[in-house]
């Protein structure tokens, strides 16, 4: 399976590659969490990553912006190699937005301040301009009227939409989503997914760890299935869901779609 994956990568190089992960390994102490990960993401591509818990999905996308360190192999993001050089890490983080399972909004700042903080301090955008941009994105996620409230006063779904707007305010090239809907009530999942779908329509490069198979079907260009720290299978959503290749994928899909 991984042989096949590498061949696929080779054909992809030379195009407009946003992320290139090559033979990447990661260990937590003695524990081998990520094994020989190879993944190439084109600009504008939408990728959904799924798999059982503990399979390394989150760890993998967290390696892309160096929230986790990999020990072997290489990761190139936007043409920049991810090394221990802080300059490279900061450069990559400026281009990669991330949305977390638990939102991670800053509770001591208003919604608007949450959105303008990074543009002002990292991109050195003037305050007025940053606020205008923030209001634009807050309007896009449909909560401009909450701008002066604190995150603690919003519902979970609203908080996650603020988190998405906050990431977009940095004008990133790539967006990473780490289970963005799994801490939400069913009624709020839809509003967040709608926001993500409209973001996908703008041509954003997206990597999304999620169990929302409906989202994967409608939005993803490619679905990746991981288990035990390896990429087991990757395919277009249609073939992935109707004709999974490995037994492990079949079992996973039967469990997740069976009810």
């Amino acid at each position: 399976m991984s042989e096949q994956a590498i061949e696929k990568k080779d054909s992809a190089i030379g195009g407009d590659t946003a992320i290139q992960i090559t033979e990447m390994h990661k260990w937590y102490g003695e524990f081998h969490v990520l094994k020989n990960i190879n993944l190439s993401v084109q600009r504008g591509e939408r990728i959904v990553i799924c798999g059982p818990s503990g399979s390394g999905k989150s760890t993998m996308i967290r390696c892309i912006n160096r929230l986790e360190e990999h020990q072997q192999g290489s990761i190139m993001v936007d043409g920049i190699e991810l090394t221990n050089d802080l300059k490279n890490i900061d450069a990559i983080r400026r281009e990669v937005g991330m949305v977390f399972q638990h939102f991670n909004l800053f509770p001591h700042l208003t919604v608007l301040e949450n959105c303008t903080l990074a543009p002002i301090w990292v991109r050195k955008v003037p305050k007025k301009e940053a606020e205008a941009t923030a209001m634009e994105y807050l309007t896009r996620v449909k909560i401009p009227d909450q701008a002066l409230k604190y995150p603690g006063q919003l519902s979970g779904g609203q908080q996650q939409r603020v988190a998405i707007a906050r990431s977009l305010c940095m004008k990133p090239q790539i967006m990473l989503f780490d289970e963005p809907t799994s801490a939400l009530d069913p009624e709020m999942i839809k509003e967040v997914l709608d926001t993500m779908i409209s973001l996908a329509d703008t041509g954003m490069t997206m990597l999304c760890v999620t169990h929302e198979m409906g989202f994967a079907r409608t939005v993803a260009d490619r679905v990746i299935f991981m288990d035990g720290g390896e990429i087991i299978e990757e395919n277009e959503p249609e073939s992935f869901f109707t004709n999974p290749q490995s037994d492990r994928t079949k079992l996973f899909l039967s469990q997740i779609l069976g009810h």
Partner: protein
């Protein structure tokens, strides 16, 4: 009451009803707080009975039978059976300035008034012209030192003439203002990933916390002379100020470290993922939250430090307690320990209670409706 709750409404049509009468207002409060059970009711009545017996006696001693003006203790006893506040009134000036020259007392007075001008913009963010005033706050320590110690055009005053309330405030405020930033830096150092920084900070904190303040004050007053080159003049008060600041900063560091650990890991990750540098994420994201959580602990440490300033009496500096104790040695006032200690206690209580109220105000102001 009963017929309201027995009324039925169609599903979805139930209006908001007022709460039962006994759960709100004065009656509700009394029921909830004073008579919530038979046991509590008995305790409330017992407490009232004790107050009825004790309170008149206390008031008699402090006010009605007290003597405010007298020449010495004999006269006090002749005039009334209560407290002899005459000793406090006679010693009041000394309790504040100790041996500071009379004609120069306007200098510490001015420094004291300016202290509030300097603290205002630091403590209250709605202070008028706050940005400009913060500049004054920054130069205030040097201005105050110049006013109090003299030199550069002002007549110098030896620091061994300092004492009383003035000395307590000098040591307390310096310790508080100096130890907060130092403590924050030590806390950040202790949780740092850089091994050298971490070892230095952990070593410093553990050493200081493991040694009593009295021992450190002794080191400051005697042993430092052995380490310093012979002939160096190093003011005793300055040494004490440094020791008190270092001592308190170690405690502040541990309180702040607790706050740092209470900030969710996701906050650090969100800050990192947006490309903020270490110092930016500490200053803008982590410390505001960590310090907010630490406010009770920080103020607790400050209050402890402020009261610990009385320990300087051991190395011969006379703070407010030390000065007042010397009044007891005066044959004129011999034996009036209760009055003298009440006075000192009231002084400390007012200072510490003010700090405590400010910390509550700050906690309320910084509360932004999020759960921790």
């Amino acid at each position: 009451m009963t017929d309201i709750s027995q009324k039925t409404y169609a599903p979805g049509q139930h209006p908001d009803l007022p709460p039962p009468a006994l759960t709100t207002g004065v009656l509700g409060w009394m029921r909830a707080n004073l008579f919530s059970s038979v046991g509590n009711g008995i305790l409330t009545l017992a407490a009232l009975a004790v107050l009825a017996v004790v309170l008149p006696k206390v008031l008699d001693f402090v006010f009605f039978d007290a003597v405010f003006f007298a020449e010495d203790r004999q006269e006090c006893q002749a005039l009334g059976s209560g407290a002899c506040w005459a000793v406090i009134i006679e010693r009041f000036q000394v309790s504040i300035y100790a041996f500071y020259p009379d004609e120069l007392r306007w200098r510490p007075n001015l420094a004291f008034v300016l202290l509030f001008v300097a603290l205002g913009p630091l403590l209250f963010d709605k202070f008028p012209a706050r940005k400009q005033m913060l500049f004054f706050s920054m130069i205030y320590p040097f201005l105050a030192a110049w006013l109090v110690v003299g030199g550069l055009g002002l007549e110098p005053v030896e620091t061994n003439k300092f004492g009383g309330v003035m000395l307590t405030i000098i040591i307390g405020v310096t310790g508080i203002v100096g130890s907060l930033p130092l403590g924050i830096v030590l806390a950040l150092g202790r949780v740092s990933n850089l091994p050298a920084v971490k070892i230095v900070c952990v070593g410093f904190i553990e050493f200081i916390r493991g040694v009593p303040l009295i021992a450190l004050l002794f080191i400051a007053s005697t042993m430092l002379n052995y380490f310093l080159p012979p002939g160096t003049e190093f003011d005793l008060l300055l040494r004490v100020l440094i020791m008190v600041t270092l001592f308190s900063s170690a405690y502040i560091a541990e309180v702040v470290r607790g706050g740092l650990q209470a900030v969710a890991k996701g906050q650090y990750e969100a800050a990192d993922s947006m490309g903020l540098t270490y110092w930016q994420s500490m200053r803008l994201i982590v410390l505001p939250q960590a310090l907010k959580i630490s406010i009770p602990g920080i103020v607790n440490t400050f209050i402890g430090l402020y009261k610990d300033t009385t320990l300087v009496i051991i190395i011969g500096l006379l703070d407010v307690l030390g000065v007042m104790k010397s009044a007891l040695a005066d044959p004129k006032w011999n034996g009036l320990a209760v009055e003298v200690y009440i006075y000192t206690a009231v002084f400390f209580f007012i200072s510490c209670f003010a700090m405590s109220r400010y910390s509550l105000y700050l906690e309320k102001k910084l509360h932004t409706g999020h759960k921790r």
